[in-house]
């Protein structure tokens, strides 16, 4: 079922690896921005009357940095403009350095029932290096406030000087604090971010080392009962992120806010990345979309494969046939035969073999046109 994403582009301090649209110095704009977000919901909601949404996700930036009353307000407005399913999954991203008892109380009141906490690492020196505003202790505190709630922790791989022991400590901490879900991402040094300099100077672990950490991390997570259901996502049974699963099933979604993207009626839309433009557009009653792309059928087929192969569920021939009316192993006949050795096939389902999940781009390019 479709989901709704809301982008909150504010944060206290930009992390050294951050490539997202966020404005650390413009928190004062948050009230105006949230007003625009409400307005955008109104604009978009009109055309989507037939949709029932199953998930809501507040991402950022740091959504937990703005006054929680705006999150509460956003949920009220959202319920006004969109129809939600009976038991929607409503997630908010949080920075452990920005939580308080009152905040969480208000979130709960707003209907939020899932939290995604940016831990990244349990090693404070590494947190400081990343420009994070919190310590491992802050994470422990945040978790104590969320006792009994469904929350996830983000963990990073490939940090400067990161050892297997560091990773052990991090996963152990997240697990002990009660995370039901753990996302384990390899740090991606993007051009233009401060950490890119470290990368250029060869100070970050190389691909082989990251892979070693990843394999080790997977083992630790498995031991602790977190099952991998996507390349970077691990969950206790039944705690998979429904919102994200929808992306990988190539489901539709609505993105609200600056830089957010939507996938509706076979088209991909992207909102402007400029905060002022975004507000101007929305206030004048226009969609703040700067890019829209019709996804051609061939392209759609590739997207389907590309996304499904990220997951533990793999490509389902039946689901593919339902979507496109053809057999994917025939549509991608040549590539499939060539790459067959890297897949496991179980009846209807085809997955990338475990040991090749982390080199899937190389496999996927074979499935591209041309």
């Amino acid at each position: 079922m479709p989901g709704i994403y809301l982008h909150i582009p504010f944060c206290k301090h930009k992390c050294t690896y951050c490539d997202f649209t966020s404005f650390p110095d413009r928190l004062a704009f948050s009230e105006a921005y949230m007003a625009c977000l409400y307005k955008e919901m109104e604009l978009l909601g009109k055309g989507l009357g037939k949709y029932t949404f199953d998930t809501v996700y507040f991402g950022g930036g740091t959504p937990s940095v703005v006054d929680p009353k705006y999150i509460y307000g956003a949920m009220q407005q959202l319920r006004k403009c969109f129809r939600l399913s009976e038991k929607p999954e409503i997630t908010i991203e949080m920075n452990p350095g920005t939580v308080s008892e009152q905040k969480i109380a208000l979130y709960k009141k707003a209907g939020i029932n899932r939290y995604s906490i940016g831990l990244q690492t349990a090693i404070d020196e590494q947190l400081a290096e990343l420009g994070r505003i919190h310590t491992a202790r802050d994470f422990v505190y945040a978790c104590s406030l969320l006792k009994g709630e469904n929350f996830s922790a983000d963990v990073m791989l490939g940090l400067k000087g990161q050892t297997e022991e560091d990773l052990f400590k991090t996963i152990e901490l997240a697990s002990r604090c009660g995370a039901k879900h753990i996302s384990m991402y390899a740090l991606t040094p993007e051009d233009g971010t401060p950490i890119y300099t470290d990368y250029l100077n060869g100070e970050l672990p190389d691909g082989d080392e990251v892979r070693r950490l990843y394999d080790y991390g997977c083992m630790l997570l498995k031991e602790r009962g977190y099952l991998r259901y996507e390349v970077s996502n691990f969950a206790k049974k039944g705690f998979e992120s429904r919102h994200n699963l929808n992306y990988w099933r190539r489901g539709e979604y609505v993105g609200l806010g600056v830089s957010a993207s939507s996938f509706l009626f076979g088209k991909r839309y992207t909102n402007t990345f400029d905060l002022d433009d975004y507000m101007k557009c929305v206030l004048s009653g226009f969609a703040p979309v700067v890019e829209s792309e019709d996804v051609e059928k061939e392209d759609a087929k590739f997207e389907f494969i590309m996304l499904a192969l990220r997951t533990e569920y793999g490509v389902s021939s039946a689901a593919y046939r339902a979507a496109f009316g053809s057999d994917w192993k025939e549509d991608f006949g040549e590539a499939f035969q060539k790459m067959r050795a890297y897949f496991t096939e179980e009846g209807d389902i085809t997955r990338i073999k475990e040991e090749y999940l982390y080199v899937q781009n190389t496999i996927l390019t074979e499935f591209m046109n041309g």
């Binding site: 994403y5 991402y185 390899a186 740090l187 991606t188 691909g207 082989d208 990251v210 892979r211 990843y214 390349v231 970077s232 994200n244 992306y247 990988w248 979604y253 993105g255 830089s259 957010a260 993207s261 939507s262 996938f263 991909r268 992207t270 792309e293 392209d299 590739f302 997207e303 590309m306 996304l307 990220r310 890297y342 090749y356 999940l357 982390y358 080199v359 899937q360 781009n361 190389t362 496999i363 996927l364 390019t365 591209m368 041309g370």
Partner: protein, 602 residues
């Protein structure tokens, strides 16, 4: 006997690269009103894109000009531009044969260079009158007197009163023209004798057919005349004659002593070889002029389209280039690894590079080139012998009695500071020391015998880097010598890649194989499986490296906003793959085929 025009001067310009030859030519044309400044593109004579970019001249370009001298008389000048690079020495010798004199341009800041010397000797052999010209006198670092002294000492030319100019600033250009009038003799020749014209260049024009660049030694030629090319014995009817202004300018006739062009609906450039003599078809017994030595290609390489389906486009491109460049030799070739392509022969490495660049640029084709090779003389045990320039065509070891390889005599000019490292380099390249001469306190000439196959790899680059660019180098093919040569094959994932095979000296095989495997290991991107890279001689593995399997190639996050981004990323990755050739099971980037050029680790 009717004498040739006494007011005619045919000359060329000899200069080292960068010493300002083309600029001087431009200034002379400007001063004689040949080209209005407005129309003039910078360095008019260098008309090919590549020529202008690299600041070198490849093709000859003649120009006719009129000049009224201080003596009040009007003179006709034919300036024949010459290439400056060692690969094109043959072109220089061709233009020299069409002249009575040469301007020797020397950069006042740099003095005489090795290349200049080689061409000066060539000019002296051709009995040309040489007029020294000192250029770039406007520069702060100009050492006019030293340059003059150097010319006098090294070459033995009198520099008393020679023109000292700045072509860039247009200073004293008239001095050059006066020196041409006074010092260079008019051509000899009998305008009434039977026609004898030397073909010194040619190119193919889509409308007029082959255009012959000729220097008339005797007689005359006009439209409607029947002419004959001595070598091919083909006859043609002249459709147009004219002068170079510098664009083709038709005129009624050409007479003995003159330089000009002939068009005669000639379809094939092969039938009118450069160096051949054009005579009158009515006087078929006229003895030809002594031509030039036929140019032999010395460097060979395979050229393949990156996209295998573009073979016909490549063929068309090479055929078109061949029309204007008789020295380019080619034949169809077929490689297991690279498919259909051509084996091409070149005059040298620069010539090779320029042809490759022209194919890519002028015809918009992406190509793969294999490492350059030379032509080996193979003697088989059954007593037969033949030349092989493609390592993969070498017969099995058991059938080879012995092999010979081409040897050059090289002259290296350098400041004495670098002698040690040059000698070390030559030693490394199997060179045999011949002689060493101090030309003056700052310049030494080293003479070495070297196998050509050592030079075609990275000799020149190495020489330049070891001498910080100070050394210059020239060579001449002197023959073949028996040598212990073996074919080294490269195996990728257990399969021989024929396009990477090469012929090496037995003693060099081990280090060469090792370096090559190391270079290939670094150049071949990691793939889903481990790839052994091996060097082998006759089935025996002599070196091995491994390209490790790729361990991480994944986008960590892929949520709503990342999907489009991820697709773009994968497309980029796919593009990269397109630039590769699949050899057996291995994707190999096209640059790799040139990797074996490098004998050193990067």
């Amino acid at each position: 006997m009717a004498k040739a025009n006494r007011n005619l001067r045919n000359f060329c310009i000899i200069a080292h690269i960068d010493h300002g030859k083309s600029t001087i030519a431009d200034r002379i044309m400007e001063l004689t009103g040949q080209v209005s400044k407005r129309d003039m593109e910078e360095q008019l004579l260098d008309s090919m894109d590549i020529e202008r970019e690299r600041g070198i001249t490849i093709k000859l370009a003649p120009v006719r000009m009129y000049y009224t001298a201080l003596d009040g008389q009007e003179y006709e000048f034919n300036l024949i531009d010459t290439p400056g690079h060692v690969d094109f020495t043959y072109e220089v010798s061709r233009s020299l044969a069409a002249c009575e004199g040469a301007l020797l341009v020397v950069d006042a800041t740099q003095g005489v260079e090795a290349q200049t010397l080689a061409n000066v000797y060539l000019a002296l052999e051709n009995d040309l009158e040489i007029v020294p010209v000192i250029n770039k006198i406007d520069l702060q670092s100009a050492r006019v007197d030293e340059a003059k002294q150097e010319i006098e000492e090294v070459i033995g030319l009198d520099c008393e009163g020679c023109p000292c100019v700045s072509a860039k600033e247009g200073i004293n250009i008239r001095d050059i023209l006066e020196a041409v009038v006074k010092q260079i003799p008019p051509p000899e020749g009998d305008t009434e004798a039977p026609l004898k014209a030397l073909i010194f260049d040619s190119y193919y024009d889509n409308y007029k057919g082959v255009i012959l660049f000729v220097r008339l030694k005797d007689g005359g030629v006009k439209v409607g005349d029947k002419i004959k090319a001595c070598l091919s014995e083909k006859t043609y009817e002249v459709t147009e004659v004219g002068a170079f202004a510098p664009f083709l300018q038709p005129k009624e006739s050409l007479l003995a002593g003159e330089v000009g062009y002939i068009a005669a609906s000639i379809k094939s450039i092969e039938d009118v070889a450069v160096g051949d003599t054009v005579i009158s078809a009515e006087k078929p017994d006229t003895p030809p002029l002594p031509g030039y030595k036929k140019v032999q290609p010395v460097v060979f390489c395979g050229i393949y389209p990156l996209d295998g389906s573009k073979f016909l486009d490549l063929k068309e491109a090479i055929l078109k280039l061949k029309l204007n460049d008789a020295s380019l030799i080619f034949e169809p070739d077929n490689s297991v690894a690279l498919g259909f392509g051509f084996r091409c022969g070149f005059l040298g490495l620069l010539h090779m590079e320029i042809i490759q660049e022209r194919i890519e640029r002028e015809f918009n084709l992406e190509i793969i080139t294999t490492a350059p090779s030379v032509s080996y003389l193979v003697h088989k045990t059954d007593g037969t012998s033949f030349y092989v320039d493609n390592p993969s065509h070498l017969p099995p070891v058991s059938e080879i009695d012995y092999m010979e390889e081409p040897i050059v005599e090289a002259e290296i000019y350098s400041p004495p500071d670098y002698l040690g490292s040059i000698m070390e380099l030559c030693q490394d390249k199997r060179g045999v020391f011949k002689d060493m001469t101090y030309l003056d306190a700052r310049r030494v000439k080293l003479e070495y015998r070297l196998p050509l196959n050592e030079i075609v790899y990275d000799f020149f680059d190495e020489l330049k880097s070891r001498t910080r660019g100070y050394a210059s180098f020239d060579y001449e093919l002197v023959g073949y010598e028996r040598s212990k040569l073996v074919r080294m094959d490269i195996l990728l994932n257990g399969e021989i890649c024929d396009a990477l095979s090469l012929i090496v000296h037995e003693e060099r095989a081990y280090p060469r194989g090792r370096t090559l495997c190391e270079n290939l290991r670094d150049a071949i991107p990691r793939q889903l499986f481990e790839i052994p890279v091996q060097a082998a001689i006759g089935g025996k593995i002599i070196a091995r490296e491994t390209v490790k399997a790729v361990r991480k190639d994944v986008l960590a996050k892929c949520y709503g906003g990342d999907i489009t981004r991820k697709k773009k990323l994968l497309e980029k990755q796919k593009e990269g793959k397109k630039r590769m050739r699949r050899i057996g099971t291995v994707d190999v980037p096209s640059e790799v085929f040139m990797q074996i050029l490098k004998t050193n680790k990067d």
